[in-house]
């Protein structure tokens, strides 16, 4: 029963949603709407589950004085601080348990939650994303080596697109006459992005979509059961 019930639920809900996609008449839209509401409720509860797991893991590491336990303590303190500020004074227009916190806002300029969000969370998040620029540079230096015909073609395309996506592009090829305008870097870049690139992306997208259809069919029919926890 523990294995069969989820399979039955997956089958019934999968088939209903599939049919509801083609039949606009009542009761299918209502059934679909109900399933949608249930999904949203479950998603919301799942957030709590994650936070509980995070707290538990960090508290255990601090209690056992695991290596680098100080960082786990910093994690718990940050979690608690944001939670407390959000609950007590809210954020932006949303009031907290203690109202809109006019006193603190008059000192900080914004609510404490918003202050930490704008001055700590945003810079930290942006810093992590900015690592991408450095890693792209090091990966490009290491891996973009011309070895054969295909890599030659790749290199040429990369040079055109990289230059075409900068503000230097109009300067570098702006002198080309209108009759040969398609040779200008921005036009070449647009052509490469809209035709060869899009064709390749479509091909991968279509084959991935077929993979999704197959995997979904296997899940609906109960052939694929890994989401239940391994095995057949």
């Amino acid at each position: 029963m523990k294995r069969n019930l989820p399979l039955i639920v997956a089958f019934v809900s999968g088939v209903v949603i599939l049919i509801a996609g083609f039949i606009p008449r009542d009761p299918f839209p209502r059934i679909e709407s109900t399933l949608i509401d249930w999904f949203m409720i479950i998603s919301s509860f799942a957030i709590l589950l994650g936070q509980a797991s995070l707290l538990r893991m960090n508290v255990i590491r601090v209690a056992e004085k695991a290596p680098n336990w100080q960082y786990y303590l910093a994690g718990i303190i940050s979690f608690g601080l944001m939670l407390a500020f959000g609950l007590l004074w809210g954020m932006e227009k949303t009031p907290g348990l203690l109202g809109q916190g006019q006193g603190i806002v008059s000192q900080l300029g914004v609510k404490p939650f918003d202050y930490l969000f704008e001055n700590a969370f945003i810079p930290l998040s942006s810093t992590m994303f900015s690592l991408l620029a450095f890693y792209i540079a090091s990966a490009a230096y290491r891996a973009f080596i011309i070895r054969n015909f295909e890599s030659n073609l790749l290199m040429l395309t990369a040079v055109i697109v990289m230059l075409g996506r900068t503000s230097f592009a109009p300067m570098l090829t702006g002198w080309i006459p209108d009759s040969l305008g398609w040779l200008r870097l921005p036009e070449l870049t647009n052509f490469i992005m809209q035709y060869p690139n899009t064709a390749a992306q479509r091909a991968i997208l279509i084959s991935a979509a077929l993979g999704i259809v197959g995997a979904s069919l296997r899940i609906i029919l109960g052939i694929e059961r890994s989401y239940l926890g391994g095995g057949k």
């Binding site: 589950l49 197959g214 926890g229 391994g230």
Partner: protein
């Protein structure tokens, strides 16, 4: 035969005449292929009109304005209506310069349809592809031998696990950064099941950081089940499959930290990834780990290719479960995918030919007519 041909010709003539017939200036009709809660109002005004007011009669018969954006030719869908009721509309087209106006009236009864004809092409394709998948699954069950080409990224799994065992370092497996609703995550968990089984057999530590709690629950069950199947239930440690954070780059920071501290010998990045993919794989490259990655996101594949030893591209990720297990049913569904690809190729070629010869109906049929 003669009667059939005559009938067909008459029908064709009727179609041509209908198509050539002048479209009315104002029409109100039940919105086709819907749930019966909307009415479609169309207009094609004479030149000279420069503003309009579309009005609907309320329950007392008084017309209230519902739309006033001017367009010479346009349409308006009035939705959230009651099914099976009559609704009256009036369009007043003004000519401000001359100071006069034209009034059009019409009514329609809302009606729910049983089938959305705009999706007929989708249904046909779905039936064909699913039919092919089921056919090959049943063929495989009957013992038919099905060929699948080598996927080096999956063949290398054993090598990666062996290397990690020799070095006494753990294996890191990231099941993507999408939730359990994404098929890529489910495909990743399939592979995790086999990887966990092998890790349990060899006694190698397996670390699985998760971004979402539902993925965490599924991953824990998967790994636990695998350890049980390998006969090593006591070796399973729940804290090795853990939640990091919901935040995308917070998750990346956490996983990067794990890679730099724990120094895994083998990294597996399988599932849905976005902009953070290169940050993960470059950090892993820096630690000297053997890396296998796979995703269905076409725009992240180049980043994986430059920084990983093996990459599963697109559909190979979904084929992984069938490839590793060699389960006939799963291999059968892969053949169904191949049929689907062949069908798409034929349709693309047919579409190109049809467009060249000017038969626009072929493309319109697959566009869905909406």
């Amino acid at each position: 035969m003669k009667k059939t041909l005559t009938g067909l010709l008459l029908a064709l003539l009727a179609c041509v005449l209908t198509a050539a017939a002048e479209q009315p200036a104002f029409s109100v009709q039940d919105n086709p292929w819907d749930d019966g809660t909307s009415v479609l109002v169309k207009w094609d005004l004479a030149t000279g009109a420069d503003s309009l007011s579309l009005q609907k009669a309320d329950s007392l018969g008084v017309f209230q304005e519902i739309f006033k954006e001017f367009a010479q030719t346009g349409q308006y869908t009035d939705s959230s209506l009651e099914i099976g009721k009559d609704f009256r509309y009036r369009l007043v087209a003004y000519n401000q310069a001359r100071g006069d106006s034209l009034v059009y009236q019409g009514s329609a009864r809302t009606k729910a349809q049983w089938f959305d004809m705009n999706k007929l092409s989708l249904l046909i394709l779905l039936v064909l592809i699913c039919g092919a998948i089921l056919y090959y699954i049943f063929s495989a069950r009957r013992g038919k031998d099905l060929f699948i080409r080598r996927i080096s990224g999956l063949d290398s799994m054993d090598e990666a696990i062996g290397r990690a065992t020799e070095k006494g370092r753990p294996i890191l497996f990231v099941p993507g950064i999408s939730d359990l609703g994404d098929i890529q995550t489910i495909a990743a968990l399939n592979i995790l099941s086999h990887l966990a089984y092998k890790s349990a057999e060899y006694g190698t530590e397996l670390l699985v950081p998760c971004r979402f709690s539902m993925v965490l629950s599924a991953a824990r069950e998967t790994v636990k089940e695998a350890y049980l199947k390998a006969g090593k239930p006591d070796a399973y440690r729940e804290d090795k499959v853990f939640y990091v954070t919901d935040d995308q780059f917070g998750f990346v920071a956490g996983v990067d930290g794990i890679m730099l501290r724990e120094q895994p010998a083998a990294n597996f990045f399988l599932g849905a990834f976005w902009a953070e993919s290169l940050i993960l794989t470059e950090t892993g490259f820096g630690t000297g780990a053997i890396q296998t990655a796979g995703t269905g996101q076409p725009h992240q594949i180049p980043f994986f290719v430059v920084s990983c030893d093996y990459t599963l591209i697109g559909e190979e990720l979904y084929a992984a479960s069938a490839y590793i297990s060699r389960d006939p049913q799963q291999l059968g569904s892969l053949k169904g995918h191949d049929f689907g690809k062949l069908l798409v190729i034929l349709l693309v070629l047919a579409g190109v030919v049809m467009e060249i010869i000017g038969a626009g109906w072929f493309k319109q049929f697959f566009e869905g007519g909406s």
